[in-house]
């Protein structure tokens, strides 16, 4: 089923690329963007809902606010002992490996499963401990928001009766419109592969 979707997706990319070409030569680019039927490209964006989340600074923010940069996204919880720190480490490795001009076009987002305990303050503390700067957004949402995002990203999780969460480990790379380009499963990953994916997205622009 996944394979069937792939050509569709490629055709979207091609269309997106064509649009951009049109935009650059057009005098009145704004009009084209507004009336462009291919704006439906964003129909596959995971930034569907207008519902606000809370970031590590306690500000309301919508997923749509992540538009514009390539996003490296993972779902975690801050009291997680092993898997999540490793995941964040993997994402840090990607950040450190990105050359400065590319880094400006990439952003890192962590979304917590722990809607009870991971408040903005807890996320802020976590960001400080892990040296996550303004390239990073940490999001707290309602249970429904988190469940919906987990469905969109294909991340499995459940709350354990004694605290903590069972969850699949997945890093997702989204393009500037919030479309899923690559899901990377597991913790033992090579940052170079992610860099290739990011590069190929940025080269499409």
């Amino acid at each position: 089923m996944r394979f069937l979707k792939y050509p569709l997706f490629v055709s979207f990319l091609i269309l997106a690329a064509c649009n951009n070409a049109t935009k650059t030569v057009s005098v009145n680019a704004d009009t084209i963007v507004q009336t462009d039927p291919q704006q439906a490209t964003a129909i596959n964006s995971v930034y569907l809902s207008e519902e606000p989340w809370i970031n590590q600074d306690g500000q309301k923010t919508r997923l749509k606010d992540l538009t514009g940069k390539v996003q490296v996204v993972a779902m975690i919880f801050t009291s997680c002992g092993y898997a999540c720190p490793k995941m964040v480490e993997n994402m840090r490795a990607i950040e450190l490996a990105l050359p400065a001009p590319l880094l400006k076009k990439v952003h890192f987002t962590l979304v917590t499963f722990d809607t009870d305990n991971d408040t903005a303050a807890a996320l802020k503390l976590y960001a400080r401990q892990k040296h996550l700067d303004s390239n990073w957004t940490l999001l707290h949402g309602t249970e429904d928001q988190v469940r919906m995002l987990s469905m969109l990203l294909d991340v499995q999780y459940s709350k354990l009766p004694l605290g903590g969460f069972n969850h699949s480990n997945q890093m997702t790379i989204l393009n500037q419109q919030g479309e899923i380009i690559k899901k990377i499963q597991g913790l033992d990953i090579d940052p170079q592969r992610s860099l290739q994916v990011i590069n190929s997205i940025l080269n499409k622009k």
Partner: protein, 265 residues
């Protein structure tokens, strides 16, 4: 929300409400086609560790029957972005509402009152939201399913009933709702007609999770050797849990539908 609920009921057409019923409905906060599921304790089929835990379930209302094609059509008409040709491929795969002949046409008289199937989790959740309801949690659904069956042939257990259903291919036209299996709560077709989406179906972590991956996987797919299921002879439950873990939220399946619940605050 109340307004949406009332619009929904009007659109359903099949329900003719008089004023008293309407007043009733507002008072109870649920529609007449829902049944009351009393609070109780439930032992989840899948257990994290050797110690068997029970989960307390609060009382809730549950749809008497799964959502029908006709009911779903009303939703699609009111929300065109969920029509077949408009839906994002992120939210449903290519077989979405495959049994309908058009975007706003079922086109087959025989299935109007049959459960709507070939719908993704996203579509089911959106429908539930539109009616002011929710999808049942896995625990709510399993708890409600455990209610004693009514009118099973003498000597037939629920498990054997379910297994004989599993062994039959899905018919071309699914039977109308409320014509088959019924349980003591007054819920129809919890088994024997279709599979049903639950809110947190993706809580069955089947791969690469952070902690108990090994044991969970074993308990899902290796029935006889498993330590983690409470009743190892309950193949019907194994199949249900294995099926859920094989799903993704955008998948559509020919015999997978849903019903809604309403929590009592």
């Amino acid at each position: 929300m109340k307004a949406a609920l009332i619009i929904f009921i009007t659109l359903m057409g099949s329900l003719s409400l008089n004023v008293r019923q309407m007043a009733n409905l507002q008072m109870l906060g649920h529609t007449p086609d829902m049944v009351y599921v009393p609070a109780g304790a439930y032992t989840p089929f899948m257990q994290e560790s050797g110690v068997i835990k029970t989960v307390k379930i609060k009382a809730f209302y549950m749809d008497k029957h799964s959502v029908t094609n006709q009911e779903f059509l009303a939703f699609v008409k009111a929300n065109p972005k969920w029509a077949k040709s408009n839906i994002s491929s992120l939210l449903a795969d290519q077989n979405y509402l495959n049994q309908w002949t058009g975007d706003y046409t079922i086109g087959n008289e025989a299935i109007i009152n049959s459960p709507v199937t070939n719908i993704s989790w996203f579509a089911a959740a959106a429908y539930a939201n539109w009616t002011g309801k929710r999808l049942p949690t896995l625990d709510q659904w399993e708890y409600a399913m455990q209610s004693t069956p009514v009118g099973l042939p003498k000597g037939q257990s629920v498990t054997s009933y379910i297994l004989s259903w599993y062994s039959k291919p899905t018919p071309e036209n699914l039977a109308p709702v409320m014509t088959g299996y019924k349980n003591k709560l007054g819920l129809y077709d919890m088994v024997g007609l279709i599979w049903e989406w639950v809110y947190d179906f993706n809580s069955v972590v089947a791969s690469s999770d952070s902690r108990s991956q090994g044991t969970l996987e074993k308990s899902l797919f290796c029935a006889s050797g498993s330590q983690n299921a409470i009743n190892k002879s309950d193949y019907a439950s194994f199949m249900r849990f294995a099926f859920r873990s094989s799903l993704k939220a955008k998948y559509t399946v020919r015999n997978l539908g849903f019903r809604c619940v309403k929590n009592i605050e």
